[in-house]
Amino acid sequence: MTTAPEPTLWSTADMARRAAREIPAGAIVNLGIGLPTQVGDYLPDGHAWLHSENGLLGIGPFPYEGDEDPNLINAGKQTITVVPGGATFDSAASFAMIRGGHIDLAILGAMQVSAAGDLANWAVPGGKIMGIGGAMDLASGCRHVIAMMQHVTKKNEHKLVRTCDYPLTAARVVTLVITDLGVFQPTGDGFRVVELAPGVSRDYAQARTGAPLG
C-alpha cells in the first residue's frame, strides 16, 4: 500500500492572496476581524474601497510609527489610516450602508458553512459568548459573502457541513468559501470545487468535508 504524499496546504497568506483575487476593481469591501483583514495586504493601492463598520469607508494601511491615532481605528480596534477619498460617518449610517446592500462584498471568518450557504461565525455551542458585533448585519446585508477559514477544526471536525450545528449568523448568504484546501462554492446539496491547493486531491478534500463535493 502506497501512502499519498501529504499535500502542501495553503497558508493564511495564500488564502488571503486568493481571496484578494475575488475583489473587482472599484468594489466596496468589508473585511472581517482576524484573517480576512489580511486580504487588504494583497490589494493594489486604490484597487478597492475598504469599509469599516465603526464608521469609515477608505481604510488605508497601518500608520507609520508615531502617527497612531487611538480615535482612528478599524472594527478590530487596530490603529489605521484613511486613504485619499475616504470618509467618516456614524454607526447608524454605516450599518445603513451594510443593511441597505451598498457593500459589494464581505469577507468574513467562519466556524461553519453549510451546503446551503448558511454561515455560523459568532458562537460556539457551550462556549463563552463573545457577542455578535457587526457579523449578522454584514452577513445578511452585503451583496456577496465570502467565508474564509481553516477547512477543519484543530480536532479535525468538519466545518464545511450539510447543516450547521453552531448558532447561525445568517442563512443562505455565503457565495464562496476559501480554506487552506482550496475554494468551494455552496450549491445547496454540497460544495462545488472551484480550485484546490497544490497537491490537494478531490478525495483528500472530500474526506475533510461534511457534504458532497461536486
Binding site: P24, A25, G26, A27, I28, A48, W49, H51, L56, L57, G58, V82, V83, P84, G85, G86, A87, T88, F89, A93, F95, A96, M97, I98, R99, G100, G101, H102, I103, D104, G141
Partner: protein, 237 residues
C-alpha cells in the same frame, strides 16, 4: 472584472443619463427650485425617455425644474408632498394625464431613508387619524396610534451637489441639501450633478456629507440658474 465604483466621472450629461429607460422610477432631489439637478433634469427630456414615475417634494414650480418634464408629457405618476402653486401639475392631475400620490413630507423622506438603509417597512405617527391612514395597517405602541409605511426605492436618483470628489463623496450647500442625500441612498443608480469637482483627498474625511458609496455617476456642471421662488429681502441699514 470591474465593480460599480470605478471611473464614475463622465464627460457629459448625455453619458450620465445613458442608462435611463422608459417607465423608470426617478428620485429627483430639491425642495422647490432649490438644490435641483438642473442639467440632468433638462437632459432627461433630450434622452427621450417617458412614462416616468417621479418622486420629488414639489415636482417643479413656476414652469421650471421638473415642470419641464410635466410639460414634455414624459411623466405617468408623481409622488410628492406638496403641489402648492405648481399649475403645471394641477392641470395635468385634473385632466387625469398624471396620477398624483401625495405623502407627508417627512414620511416621503423616511420611506427613502428606509429604502437606502435596508428597512422594508416602519411604523410612523404621521398621518394617524387622517386620510393618509386609508388602506394602511395601523398599530398601537404604548397607547399611541401608528401607521405602517413601506420603503420607497428608485431606479435612478438625480442629485445636485455643491462639491464632489472623483469617488462621489459629496458636500451640499445650505438648504440645497434637502432630499438630495437621502434620495442618493435609495436608488439603484445615483447620478450626481456637481458645481465643483475635486480630486480624491481634497475633502477631509470628516467634511463629507454623503459617502461616495451612494454615488455611481458624476457629471461636472459649473453653471446653474438657481432660480428664486420668493426673493424676500430687507433694506440695508
Amino acid at each position: 472584472m470591474t465593480g460599480r465604483h470605478a471611473n464614475k466621472v463622465v464627460a457629459s450629461v448625455a453619458e450620465a443619463l445613458a442608462p435611463m429607460r422608459d417607465g423608470m422610477t426617478v428620485l429627483v432631489g430639491g425642495f422647490g427650485l432649490s438644490g435641483n439637478a438642473e442639467a440632468l433634469i433638462r437632459g432627461v427630456i433630450e434622452r427621450g425617455v417617458r412614462d416616468l414615475t417621479i418622486v420629488s417634494n414639489n415636482a417643479g414650480n413656476l414652469g421650471k425644474g421638473l415642470a419641464l418634464w410635466l410639460k414634455a408629457g414624459i411623466v405617468r405618476k408623481v409622488i410628492c408632498s406638496y403641489i402648492g402653486n405648481n399649475d403645471d401639475l394641477h392641470t395635468r392631475r385634473a385632466s387625469g394625464e398624471i396620477a398624483v400620490e401625495i405623502t407627508p413630507q417627512g414620511t416621503l423622506a423616511e420611506r427613502m431613508r428606509a429604502a437606502g438603509a435596508g428597512i422594508p417597512a416602519f411604523f410612523t405617527p404621521t398621518g394617524a387619524g387622517t386620510v393618509v391612514e386609508d388602506g394602511k395597517e395601523t398599530r398601537e405602541f404604548d397607547g399611541r396610534r401608528y401607521l405602517l409605511e413601506r420603503a420607497l426605492h428608485g431606479d435612478v436618483a438625480l442629485v445636485r451637489a455643491h462639491t464632489a470628489d472623483r469617488f462621489g463623496n459629496l458636500r451640499f450647500w445650505r438648504t440645497a441639501r434637502n432630499f438630495n442625500p437621502v434620495m442618493a441612498t435609495a436608488a439603484r443608480l445615483t447620478i450626481v450633478e456637481c458645481d465643483h469637482l475635486v480630486e480624491l483627498g481634497a475633502l477631509d474625511p470628516d467634511d463629507v456629507h454623503l459617502s461616495g458609496i451612494h454615488v455611481h455617476r458624476i457629471v461636472h456642471v459649473p453653471e446653474h440658474e438657481n432660480a428664486f421662488e420668493y426673493r424676500t429681502v430687507r433694506k440695508r441699514p
